[in-house]
């Protein structure tokens, strides 16, 4: 099972490689405008705090039963998943990500095994980040949190239920013998562009589909048999409304992130990841039909979602391939 270290989930697979370590942290970021325009990658503003669910008896029974970790988010706040490896070992891993148990790559309901037709997982280190739901080749819709039960989450749109919310993640290492074969030399790639007396009322959040962003979901360059699915580790990430964070944990409430408009006004950079030249996955037809947060908000309230106006973005800074170098993470006033 993973451990929680410095607000990141750390996965180790000593049976495959004693040095191997893979971690996932959840980066705060700005919500990109929800329009017809495809935006480049926004920066990270630092890690969301993560806490063990089992430490909070005041959480609802179903949340405690799922185990895992809890993370505070504001309504309409965005996040991205930052993948990284350990020093000295880049053991490849297959990462399955779902929101409300809807697979973020295929739009299908969560299943435990890795599937190839269609590929329902991403591969690290080829995929250094995941920012949203795959809707078209090279385009995702940003992960944006909304309270569960209001009809905005992808889960609710596809299942008509608000049962799970949160994020579900599994990590599968490469089989030991395959890794031993690949470990040296590395290939050369061409670069192209409960018990509580006073239970806290549920503040569970789900992820909806935000604005369009240019991000490819890379194809698995390995064979399906190369993954050691007996060694898969998984975790449930409950998203908790930030306004209820202090009541639950006694910790300071995270401040709200800057808007895309604030960021653009400050003239700060945006980013573009260049992969290794292989065609990306096509994206999910199911996810492509999901309504974006902006269009749902317009439909439900008759008003535009605040902060949904397009912003000017300079030529993005190029990162990659493999982009093991970090995607810049900036501090922001008020953090």
């Amino acid at each position: 099972m993973p451990t929680l270290e410095n607000n990141a989930l750390a996965f180790r697979f000593p049976e495959v490689d004693p040095e191997a370590r893979f971690s996932i942290d959840f980066q705060r970021t700005l919500r990109i405008p929800d329009s017809d325009r495809d935006y480049p990658l926004p920066p990270g503003f630092g890690r969301f705090p993560l806490r063990h669910v089992e430490d909070y008896a005041a959480l609802p029974a179903d949340t405690r039963r799922r185990g895992g970790v809890i993370l505070p988010m504001w309504q309409a706040e965005a996040l991205w998943l930052n993948f990284s490896g350990g020093r000295g070992s880049d053991l490849p891993v297959a990462v399955k990500v779902a929101a409300g148990k809807i697979n973020a790559v295929t739009g299908e309901t969560w299943t435990a095994p890795l599937n190839r037709n269609p590929q329902d997982y991403v591969v690290w280190p080829e995929q250094p980040w995941l920012d949203g739901f795959a809707i078209e080749p090279g385009v995702i819709r940003q992960f944006v949190a909304m309270p569960l039960g209001e009809g905005y989450s992808v889960e609710e749109q596809l299942t008509d239920e608000a049962e799970w919310g949160g994020l579900q993640i599994s990590v599968t290492p490469m089989r030991r013998e395959v890794w031993a074969r690949l470990k040296a030399p590395r290939p050369v790639y061409h670069i192209e562009p409960c018990a509580s007396v006073m239970p806290v009322p549920s503040a569970a959040m789900g992820l909806g589909a935000g604005g369009r962003m240019r991000q490819s979901i890379e194809r698995d360059p390995h064979a399906l048999e190369d993954w050691d699915q007996r060694a898969t580790q998984r975790v449930f990430v409950t998203l908790w409304h930030a306004s209820r964070w202090r009541a639950l944990t006694g910790e300071q409430v995270p401040t709200e992130p800057p808007s895309a408009q604030d960021y653009a006004r400050a003239g700060l950079p945006w980013f573009q990841h260049y992969g290794r030249g292989a065609a990306p996955l096509p994206g999910s037809d199911t996810l492509a039909k999901v309504k974006s947060l902006g269009s749902l908000h317009q439909q439900q309230t008759g008003a535009a979602l605040p902060g949904s106006g397009d912003v000017a973005t300079p030529e993005p800074v190029r990162l990659g391939p493999g982009a093991k170098g970090p995607r810049p993470i900036r501090s922001w006033f008020g953090w």
């Binding site: 451990t3 929680l4 669910v53 975790v235």
Partner: protein
């Protein structure tokens, strides 16, 4: 030349995508939060660190609490 400050090492680690604690250790420092934790309970942590210092990594890591998996 004096080693860089903790703040500089943190920024350097963030810029390079390296682990902050490892970067601080390379500069001969430990982070302020660790220092504060040790100073708050010096006897307990001194004993703990001395008892763990020669143990292999996998044995130390067993002491780090795992994220519990449940029913979902």
């Amino acid at each position: 030349m004096a080693p860089p400050s903790e703040e500089v090492l943190r920024l350097l680690a963030a810029e390079l995508g390296e682990d902050t604690d490892v970067m601080l250790a390379l500069g001969g420092k430990i982070s302020a939060d660790l220092r504060a934790a040790i100073l708050a309970r010096p006897k307990l942590f001194a004993e703990l660190i001395r008892s763990l210092k020669d143990m292999p990594d996998h044995a130390v890591l067993r002491l780090v609490r795992e994220v519990e998996d449940g029913d979902w």
